[in-house]
Subunit: 341 residues, 2 copies
DNA sequence: TTGTAGGCGTTATCAT
DNA sequence: ATGATAACGCCTACAA
């Protein structure tokens, strides 16, 4: 590493003025001589001067960098979300320091620690599916770095969070199935530690009891979100003497594995059994067995909202007793009639 | 923003020693008193001291941050690539500053400028499909920030780059089709400005002429990679009086749009017309019409290699006359026999 | 209108 | 074995 970038000091030297004059000229300070300002700006351009953000932020004790921690960017949901975060961040002149947890709490902690050392101005995080304790994040917050959770958020109230109301959409979903005559409605849910799973389960129960239907827990399965876990769950559902007529999957990835297995078992997808899901991935249009219906959770919007919430959180005094809970509405999207197959 | 992080200065004050003593103790400097070292470390732990990377890197004139610029993380290829970059970066204790160009050269330049201001130690970039001039990146390099291109790389030799040899895999692909009796082989290529497109075209021509087949340019179409562009290309191919018996798509996304349209036109995919492609997306297993064959370009490996190359580039003296060109091998992956449909 | 000086957190170079 | 101090690039209150 050589060929250094020019500094205001060098500009000052060449122009025989002081560094403060250069600094002020560059910032269009009102009471600076017009021609001095011009001379400075001219030379700065000539020397390709680019201000050293490191130095500025070091001085100001801010970095204009937001850390973003996601489980896995391979999932379309999260890649959309980070685009939303990035778009909003750009508007506020913030930059994104990025890290994936790969659903490993140890990696998650390491990534967050690195970000703290980098002195990011805030951290936006969607928790790993295996994370139980978030004390390390509370500590981060205590140290003056606001934390905003999104989508995979903790249950507790004393955090900033942005999420979709899955409880309500699940009720809508079950109602939709009910209105079309489906009565044996099964669910392949996600890991029970996730708030998202709890909300799906509660919505499911609530909708059924509203319809005076009794809840048969044999229709309720869980998956660890791996292909094997989902296949196992589907297998159990198909082995029931009273095979379900509809299956609600935790998300479109689970849906794809479930339908792939069911198809291999000779099930005619969406004819013998109706399949519905969550996420509304764009890839759904190209898949062999799209869900009849998918809940759109607006990851891009959630990303934008997370950054907006971060902006507000950063203005708060620390420690704070004012926590933001932003709810992004989810909507049902009907598929399956788009392409004749 | 309040509740500041403790500094070595505060530790020094509390222990009645000098800051240099604290600094040395924390770094296990050999000639420091054992019990002093212990006392310092103890208090540091107690006060939850975390070194300020901003200050350290400011002093050392390095940030341990690598800028990564990609067209769009929504494409699985790039989301895999960034995971590879991240994995390698972590090993070398580097962090990732992330930005997307969304295939817009203006945004690309803005992102790169921001990274320069942030004084990243290097930039790894996959060019936007609309970028023609890379002079702004040469300038970045002249300023002492090494630039490593990957996948979407410029043609010229005076750059560091990491890429797959698509020329060779294209020949393999055509040979595979030829050996199975296909003679009317069409191609839906990408934008001609991309090296990747040129290599596909050249491999295509080379393979055909090796087989003494004449090249019929009516079998050669291009797409701007949008759904509309691809549909238009496929439409033209289907309207030929001599409809092709095989179609090579630029990548799996183009393939999906092409097959979706062809299916709607009544074509029996991979029966009436054989479809092959590039990228080997994991989603391929779940799509309605997987390609018979897809070229695996190992995005994760390319990402890792990019970071390795970056490490070497950063050790070079600037300006450099030593440029690294790393070729990651591509391989053919056979599909279509996995699931009976 | 412009200059001077101090300071942000850390490391490195001299001293002691 | 430990302390004092300068330096990194920039900003800003205070002086002139």
């Amino acid at each position: 590493m050589s060929s250094n970038n020019p500094t205001i000091k060098e500009i000052a030297l060449r122009l025989n003025v002081s560094v403060s004059t250069v600094s002020r000229a560059l910032h269009d300070h009102p009471r600076i001589g017009l021609k001095t300002r011009e001379r400075v700006k001219e030379l700065a351009r000539e020397m390709k001067y680019v201000p050293n953000a490191q130095a500025i932020f070091f001085k100001k004790q801010k970095t204009a960098v937001i850390g973003v921690v996601l489980p896995s960017i391979k999932e379309e949901f999260f890649s959309q979300a980070i685009s939303g975060i990035e778009a909003a961040a750009t508007q506020y002149n913030y930059t994104i320091l990025f890290g994936q947890s790969h659903d490993d709490p140890a990696i998650e902690k390491r990534v967050v620690d690195t970000m703290k050392r980098q002195r990011v101005d805030g951290i936006i995080i969607s928790l790993s599916k295996n994370t139980h304790k978030i004390s390390f994040l509370k500590e981060i917050e205590m140290a003056g770095i606001p934390v905003v959770f999104f989508d995979r958020v903790p249950d507790q109230a004393d955090v900033h969070k942005v999420y979709c109301d899955i409880y309500k959409s699940t009720i809508d979903m079950v109602n939709w199935l009910y209105s079309r005559g489906f009565r044996k409605i099964a669910m392949i849910n996600g890991p029970s530690i996730l708030t998202a799973s709890r909300e799906r389960l509660e919505g499911y129960k609530q909708a059924l009891s509203q319809k005076k239907m009794k809840i048969d827990m044999r229709y309720f399965e869980s998956t660890d979100l791996t292909k094997e876990g989902t296949t196992h769950a589907m297998k159990k559902l198909l082995s029931l003497k009273n095979v379900p007529t509809a299956v609600i999957s935790f998300n479109d990835y689970v849906h794809m594995d479930a339908t792939q297995y069911a198809h291999l078992q000779g099930i005619n997808i969406n004819k013998d059994i109706a399949f519905v899901s969550y996420s509304n991935l764009s890839i759904t249009d190209y898949t062999a067995y799209p869900p009849l219906l998918s809940v759109e959770q607006y990851p891009y919007g959630q990303g934008e909202q997370s950054m907006e919430t971060m902006i507000r959180a950063m203005k708060e005094q620390h420690p704070t007793h004012q926590y933001y809970h932003e709810e992004v509405p989810a909507t049902l999207v009907i598929h399956g009639t788009k392409h004749v197959r």
